[in-house]
């Protein structure tokens, strides 16, 4: 049994059919990547899994439990954590508060330790720890969003374009963090435009197009697929 099993998921925005029945899974310890053009439905997929959107049909199972249609806060309590596209910080809270606000879903121990880890990884956040999140620069916000999710000790981490808007140095940093998270055995569902890096780190890849999965395979398989190469690797 896979950690996350998505089956035949269909989601609409009013009359727009954003997902037309997609199925995939994430196994323990894996990094699974969803790639696809703009508007393919990647964010919709993640949002449906977390419960921000209700599917029209299909099912989502997490750790063997059917969580289809659960509210987002219930899903999150299972420590199925999403780092949403566009950062979605609490703009009027400080960096520090943003980092700690999600920790209520885990047990209290070692929070300080984790915090220290985050600050060593993102010294920039440490410098700005009392600043309101809304006033951070784009990149700083992205770091904070990832940091916040890590503070929640995810069982499965879902990252929606985490490298968007980051300086090259930080993009490397983020992928390094992803690698580290992976090394810690935390499974990851990664949505990325930076397909080159995503494919480097992924165990398994699904390619999404207009609400459907059009291709899938291990990272190596796809890296050698000429169609993928031309479409996503530039």
């Amino acid at each position: 049994m896979a950690l996350l099993e998505v089956e035949n998921l269909q989601t609409n925005y009013g009359a727009i059919k954003a997902l037309r029945g997609i199925s995939f899974m994430v196994e323990e310890g894996q990094v699974v990547t969803l790639i696809g053009a703009n508007g393919a439905g990647k964010s919709t997929t993640i949002n449906t899994i977390t419960g921000l959107l209700k599917p029209v049909s299909g099912s989502v199972r997490f750790m063997g439990q059917d969580i289809t249609g659960w509210r987002a806060d219930r899903v999150t309590k299972l420590r199925l954590i999403q780092v949403p596209e566009g950062r979605q910080l609490i703009a009027n809270m400080s960096v520090m508060e943003n980092l700690t606000i999600g920790t209520h879903i885990r047990r209290g121990e070692k929070i300080d330790e984790d915090l220290a880890n985050i600050f060593t990884r993102f010294p920039r956040l440490n410098e700005r720890r009392t600043q309101k999140a809304g006033l951070l620069s784009g990149g700083e916000q992205q770091m904070l969003a990832v940091g916040r999710a890590l503070m929640m000790r995810p069982r499965l981490l879902m990252l929606d374009e985490p490298s968007m808007g980051l300086a090259p140095l930080l993009v490397n940093e983020v992928f390094q963090i992803i690698a580290e998270i992976k090394a810690q055995g935390i499974p990851i569902l990664l949505v990325e435009q930076n397909a080159r890096k995503a494919l480097q780190i992924a165990d398994y890849v699904y390619v999404l197009d207009r609400g459907q999965i059009v291709n899938q395979g291990t990272a190596e398989e796809l890296r050698s697929d000429p169609a993928i190469l031309s479409a996503y690797l530039g």
Partner: protein, 307 residues
């Protein structure tokens, strides 16, 4: 001259306490929902009404009545969340439609109260008993401090103390406790809050409950202080409360309290200076000036957004 100044100062502080208490509940709902709950003044009236029924019809001890007034306010407020706010939020309606639904709810609550008044009292006003003491041992005698020319009613001091204690407790809760942090997160965005595992619906219910408690309590105390209760007493404080929270800075707890006191002080000062006809105009002119200098109100936070 000195004594009149002192007396007027005391008048202002005591009036301010009532405004502040009412404004607190208003501010709480606004800061979490970002919506003005115009039915809050109806909750206020119901608090006074329930308290009145408790002491007058059911002959309960006044403290219990206060509790009932507060609790009744809380429950009604939660009811409002369920019938007037939640359905609209669920459908992503514009905030302004929530404002209108709160007006609808308010009309409903006031008119139901009017029907009940008519049923129970055969007219639309009623009075708290003349010699009501809030708790055993409390005096109803005016405290006279003749050497400094000051007269204070004990009940008003009680109201002042309750308002201040409430403010401190609420402030502590919102800034220092996890519940408070969650409330602020929900206030900022339900969507983000839910992604942080915060039970959004429960936070809303809690917020409404607390706000209702403050509203109901303020109403009951107002009733005890001024004794007359009718279905429309909420209208007397609605605009004052609104002014107070805007002046103090929306979403700020201390701001609401500060605003309440400032409005009362201004009204009193303008009356003391011989301008009783203009007291409300003066309040608004000052509000105007404050907003021009500090568009976010006295203690409000500037917007945390950037281009």
């Amino acid at each position: 001259m000195e004594s009149i100044f002192l007396q007027q100062t005391v008048n202002a502080i005591l009036l301010g306490a009532i405004y502040a208490l009412f404004a607190l509940g208003y501010a709480l709902v606004f800061s979490v929902l970002g919506v003005l709950n115009l039915a809050h003044s109806a909750i206020f009236m119901w608090g006074a009404f329930i308290g009145l029924l408790a002491v007058e019809q059911w002959q309960l001890p006044p403290l219990l009545a206060l509790l009932l007034g507060a609790l009744g306010g809380g429950l009604l407020s939660v009811l409002l969340e369920f019938i007037a706010f939640r359905p609209l939020r669920r459908r992503n309606a514009a905030r302004i439609s929530q404002l209108i639904s709160s007006i609808g709810a308010s009309i409903l609550l006031v008119n139901i109260a009017q029907l009940l008044f008519q049923q129970i009292y055969n007219r639309t006003e009623a009075y708290y008993p003349l010699d009501l003491v809030l708790f055993p041992g409390m005096s109803t005698e005016t405290i006279v401090l003749d050497d400094i020319g000051l007269r204070i009613q004990p009940i008003r001091i009680v109201i002042l103390v309750i308002a201040l204690v409430t403010m401190v407790l609420l402030q502590y809760m919102v800034t220092r406790t996890q519940i408070g942090q969650h409330m602020r997160a929900v206030a900022f965005s339900e969507r983000i809050a839910s992604l942080l595992g915060i039970p959004v619906s429960r936070i809303f219910v809690l917020t409404f409950f607390l706000a209702g408690i403050f509203g109901g309590m303020a109403g009951m105390l107002y009733g005890v202080a001024f004794r007359k209760v009718d279905p429309f007493i909420g209208e007397n404080v609605a605009l004052v409360g609104l002014t107070a929270i805007v002046l103090g800075g929306m979403g700020s707890i201390q701001g609401a309290v500060l605003g309440g006191f400032i409005v009362a002080a201004l009204q009193t000062i303008s009356i003391a200076a011989g301008g009783s006809s203009y007291s409300n105009a003066i309040v608004f002119v000052l509000l105007f000036v404050v907003l021009l200098v500090r568009p976010q109100g006295l203690l409000g936070q500037p917007e945390n957004t950037r281009a």
